[in-house]
């Protein structure tokens, strides 16, 4: 087991990502943020909190998307769906998808399919906390990355969140 990010490092990384998102989208008027269910939500909740701190008067459009019904391995087991809540239109908007770990890219592939059922966005960007590069199975890359790591397929990357797991850190398990 190897510790990748400690709790304070994780907090600083999320703060940096919030600033990077704002750097490219100065007031978020035409940008919406969408976290991916289930584990991406812990990260996106914190990211959105940081963004709101920087934009106290701004109106941040933040939704949650579940991709279960769009998975390409739907016949490989019973997948229980989580709640989707996108209470605004994404038509013509810039969408930033937010997830905790980018690995094979299959989740993001499904998320793009799901997203298009809500309208036609002007542009879609991807923000991830951890990018496991060299393990992609689809041509997908992040626009905002918390930390890039090199890992082999047999290893597992675990992101722990206080609300869910009682501690906050990122580790690699062999």
């Amino acid at each position: 087991m190897k510790l990748i990010l400690t709790e304070p490092q994780l907090a600083i990384t999320i703060k940096r990502l919030a600033h990077q998102v704002l750097e490219n989208n100065i007031n978020l008027d035409n940008t919406v943020l969408i976290g991916l269910q289930p584990r991406g939500i812990f990260f996106s909740d914190q990211l959105v909190t940081e963004i709101k701190k920087e934009l106290p008067s701004g109106n941040v459009h933040y939704g949650k998307l579940d991709i279960t019904f769009y998975r390409d391995d739907i016949r490989k087991g019973l997948h229980v769906a989580n709640h989707t809540n996108i209470p605004f239109s994404i038509e013509g908007k810039k969408v930033i998808l937010i997830d905790d770990v980018l690995y094979t890219g299959r989740t993001i592939r499904a998320a793009l399919d799901a997203l298009l059922d809500f309208g036609r966005p002007e542009k879609v960007e991807l923000c991830v906390l951890i990018d496991r590069r060299y393990s992609r199975q689809f041509p997908i890359q992040p626009d905002y990355t918390g930390k890039t790591i090199d890992s082999i397929i047999s290893q597992k990357v675990r992101v722990y969140w206080k609300e869910k797991d009682g501690k906050e850190e990122v580790t690699i398990l062999d």
Binding site: L78, N85, D113
Partner: protein
């Protein structure tokens, strides 16, 4: 999480976890039905046959819509326009359809136990869309979802089922489900339309007095008099039934609280339910129909998993 069953033959075979999973998944599909594109690709590799050996409007349309919203391929079969009239057996009919690579069967039949019989002889997953006077599981699930939306929970909620309990598969499925989920159930109707040992067999209370029952309950599920299934005279006339067991505006206004009115349809206006009650804001009859599509999507989605 997983289901304890491969088919949905009746609520009787389900456990509490199964029911919760169906309802929870239905809530997610309700959100899907609010999207600009009300369709997901989940079942695009699945072919479903709708076998209706008995008439239906709501259930058939609801299943068909649910299948289309899941991107499944569908075939519709109605007994009157088929070789059943030439003497083909149920099993032969179904096996012929399945040999054309059909994955799931949705069946309504006037014989109680028809889907259970079928499940012993075919490999495909079967969804019971109503069998005789036995069960109508998807109706019970959509009723439960509607009650949950209205009252917030099933546990401890007081539900009255009123009318022709004897011939109603809706009543039986509802009772199984509500009891499993911890609700309190009272059945009410003329003694001739309530099975004699229902209280001992299903753990429900029986009350022959409509006013008392309405005063007790939070939700009243009003059933249709199933004249087509009655082969003897069980009450004197529909007019008299209406006077004793029909729900009128006056009756509801005389209660000490506002209760929720449900009906599985089709309504016989002026018999079990007066028109102004059916169309009032107390009634959630059309929400029930709306929830039907989401519930059936959940059932088909969860049963389509081959690892069940």
């Amino acid at each position: 999480m997983s289901l304890s069953t491969k088919h949905l033959l009746g609520i009787r075979d389900l456990n509490k976890e199964d029911i919760s999973l169906f309802l929870q998944t239905a809530e997610q599909f309700k959100e899907v039905l609010q999207r600009p594109v009300k369709k997901v690709p989940s079942l695009r590799d699945v072919t479903i046959v709708n076998l209706f050996f008995e008439n239906s409007t709501r259930t058939r349309i609801s299943f068909e819509l649910a299948e289309k919203r899941l991107s499944a391929d569908t075939i519709n079969f109605t007994a009157s326009a088929s070789s059943v009239s030439k003497g083909e057996t149920l099993l032969d009919t179904v096996n012929n359809i399945l040999s054309m690579k059909v994955d799931m069967v949705v069946m309504r039949h006037s014989a109680s136990g028809a889907p259970h019989f079928l499940s012993k002889h075919i490999p495909a997953a079967i969804v019971n869309a109503g069998d005789g006077i036995n069960e109508h599981p998807t109706q019970a699930l959509l009723d439960a979802l509607s009650i949950k939306e209205k009252t917030g929970k099933l546990e401890g909620t007081k539900i009255a089922i009123i009318g022709d309990i004897m011939h109603s598969r809706v009543a039986q499925s509802n009772i199984y489900l509500l009891k499993k989920m911890g609700a309190e159930v009272t059945v009410c109707g003329p003694p001739t339309l309530i099975p004699k040992y229902i209280s001992e067999a299903l753990g429900v209370q029986v009350n022959y007095n409509l006013k008392e029952t309405l005063e007790w309950c939070d939700v009243a599920n009003v059933l249709r008099i199933q004249l087509e299934r009655q082969n003897q005279v069980l009450f004197s006339s529909l007019r008299e039934y209406n006077l004793t067991y029909g729900i009128s505006r006056k009756l509801l206004d005389g209660l000490h609280k506002e209760i929720v009115i449900m009906h599985p349809g089709p309504i016989n206006r002026g018999v079990e339910l007066d028109s102004d009650v059916a169309d009032s804001k107390q009634s959630i009859i059309l929400q029930q129909v709306e929830n039907g599509v989401a519930v059936r999507m959940a059932v088909l989605y969860l049963l389509s998993n081959p690892n069940n």
